[in-house]
């Protein structure tokens, strides 16, 4: 009896020591290895398992079983009004590079960024919206599963999301005029063309990080891939589109000028009537 209580004491002491060490280590471990407690492990396994299921039924056909974008569907093509053929490659998740982010240039996207793409799809590509097809849990799980394809998600710390606050004057004629000057000075036309048709003098030489030729956006032929809201246009100038030729203007252009450029872009896209 006495011996048993001694063992109990040791057990309690060890448990206490363990908890103490564990608690002090938690802040250091956050984001590195979120879950090694038994319960959390099971939870994470369950999420990945569900994510895999969702991926295999909804994503794999284009993005491939290894997440490298080499799915059964292969390369898809779209023809624009002016006859330009756009080749669409399903995103290669093994690189961990994403264009449509609200995080700065060179950063991994925020979960919410991926959620938006999965929910709304990508215009002018073959990525369909899954708003009504997948439950929130399924979408969250597939995001976690997508992250298993690239080591970047484990190696890099997350970046802060860029705040976007649209000024009232965006789209005003004065702002459009100022934006036109910015468009000229920032040499946007070198790739996107004087009239924004994506046919500038540098437009045919650009290649993406996969070595594939990539065409600059033609503003007059439809929606921006991430959606054509003023905010989306602004964030594109700010973050750049990682993996493509579109650089970030966060350090080259102040916020106000970026918003003027939004105004001019909206004009080129023929979207100003709906805004004002």
């Amino acid at each position: 009896m006495e011996q048993f209580s001694f063992l109990q004491k040791i057990f309690r002491l060890s448990l206490f020591c363990f908890l103490l060490v564990f608690m002090t280590l938690i802040p250091a471990l956050q984001g590195v290895n979120k879950a090694y407690g038994d319960d959390e492990d099971i939870d994470e396994d369950r999420v990945i398992e569900l994510g895999k299921k969702v991926y295999e039924t909804r994503c794999m056909i284009c993005h491939g079983s290894k997440g490298d974008g080499k799915g059964f569907a292969g390369i898809t093509r779209r023809v624009e009004k002016n006859g330009r053929v756009l080749k669409n490659y399903a995103r290669d998740f093994t690189m961990g590079v994403f264009r449509f982010r609200t995080t700065p240039n060179g950063c991994l996207p925020d979960d919410e960024d991926l959620m938006k793409i999965i929910s709304n799809g990508v215009s002018r590509s073959f990525m369909p919206p899954h708003k009504d097809i997948l439950s929130l849990e399924e979408k969250k799980s597939v995001i976690e599963y997508i992250k298993t394809f690239s080591e970047r998600w484990e190696e890099e710390d997350p970046c802060d999301v860029i705040e976007v606050k649209k000024p009232d004057w965006v789209g005003s004629s004065l702002s459009v005029k100022k934006g036109e000057r910015v468009y000229k000075e920032m040499k946007c036309w070198e790739c996107h063309g004087e009239e924004g048709k994506g046919d500038g003098p540098k437009s045919d030489k650009i290649k993406d990080d996969w070595g594939k030729p990539i065409l600059p956006f033609n503003f007059v032929t439809g929606e921006l891939k991430r959606g054509s809201s003023a905010e989306n246009i602004y964030i594109t100038f700010t973050t750049g589109l990682d993996g493509t030729g579109m650089p970030s203007y966060e350090d080259s252009l102040n916020e106000e000028d970026r918003w003027h450029l939004v105004s001019y872009t909206l004009k080129l896209m023929g979207k100003l009537k709906s805004l004002h």
Binding site: I10, F18, L25, V32, G106, M186, E190, D251, S252
Partner: protein
């Protein structure tokens, strides 16, 4: 019973330790009686440095076209093969791979200049947590796109717009590895940076010589990388207070990627 409990506690304590080990990639220690590696990089091949034709597409405003043609020139000496009369190769990156422990890396920032439609320097070293300072000395638009070269891929690190002359952008170096630089506006532009967590990286001089100092004694793998040659790796043992000799001769050329973009 007691043993089981002790074992449980030990294992429980080890788990966090292990996950720490995964994150800790390089440990800074004091190196008092380290050793060095020294050598020369040569080539057994006769190589010729190509001349790159510069093709500027005409712009709507002829003045803009003129400025660009004047700044970039009609041709550029590629500068791939800078080889001395005794076959010594300049601009070879000499990288000690997989170093776990050693001196702290310098905190020096690296300036990359877009000058006359070329990146300067062509080959350089940057250290993780220091800064890249990207400059544009030309009166025209450049964008500087940095990508880390993985096995068979290039992954975006930064892509910065530099529309004005004398513009400067400072960005923190967050990604280690061999970084490739390009400018989407000028397909011939390229440069290479080795981004390192440790100080054991260097570049060969005009006589093909290099020197690495203050390594902890032990066995190391050294990688010799050059844009125009097949890379070589060599094993070397470093002994305390001694300098190990390690020469290399490149015997195979390769076509730098940027030539394929022209």
């Amino acid at each position: 019973m007691k043993k089981i409990m002790v074992f449980t506690v030990v294992v429980a304590l080890l788990i966090p330790a292990l996950s720490f080990a995964r994150k800790a990639k390089y440990e800074v220690v004091e190196v008092n009686n380290g050793g060095g590696i020294q050598g020369t990089v040569k080539t057994s091949l006769k190589v010729k440095d190509p001349v790159v034709p510069i093709n500027i597409q005409p712009k709507e405003d002829p003045k803009e076209t003129e400025i660009e043609r004047k700044t970039c020139g009609k041709t550029q000496q590629a500068g791939i093969y800078i080889v001395s009369p005794s076959n010594e190769v300049k601009n070879v990156l000499v990288i000690v791979e997989g170093v776990k422990k050693g001196k702290a890396a310098p905190k020096t920032d690296l300036t990359i200049n877009n000058n006359k439609c070329r990146f300067e320097p062509l080959v350089s070293i940057s250290y993780v947590k220091s800064n890249y300072i990207v400059k544009n000395s030309d009166p025209l638009f450049h964008n500087t796109s940095l990508g880390v070269l993985l096995k068979d891929k290039r992954r975006a690190v930064y892509n910065l717009a530099l529309p004005y002359q004398n513009q400067e952008i400072k960005k923190r170096n967050r990604v280690a590895g061999l970084i490739d630089l390009k400018c989407d506006a000028h397909s011939w532009m390229r440069a290479y940076v080795y981004s390192s967590r440790h100080p054991y990286v260097t570049i060969t001089d005009a006589n093909g010589n290099y020197e690495l100092k203050d390594l902890l004694p032990g066995k190391y793998t050294v990688r010799f990388w050059h844009e125009g040659f097949q890379e070589e790796t060599k094993e070397v043992e470093v002994k305390a207070g001694k300098v190990s000799k390690l020469d290399v001769s490149f015997s195979k050329t390769r076509k730098p990627d940027f030539l394929g973009r022209l």
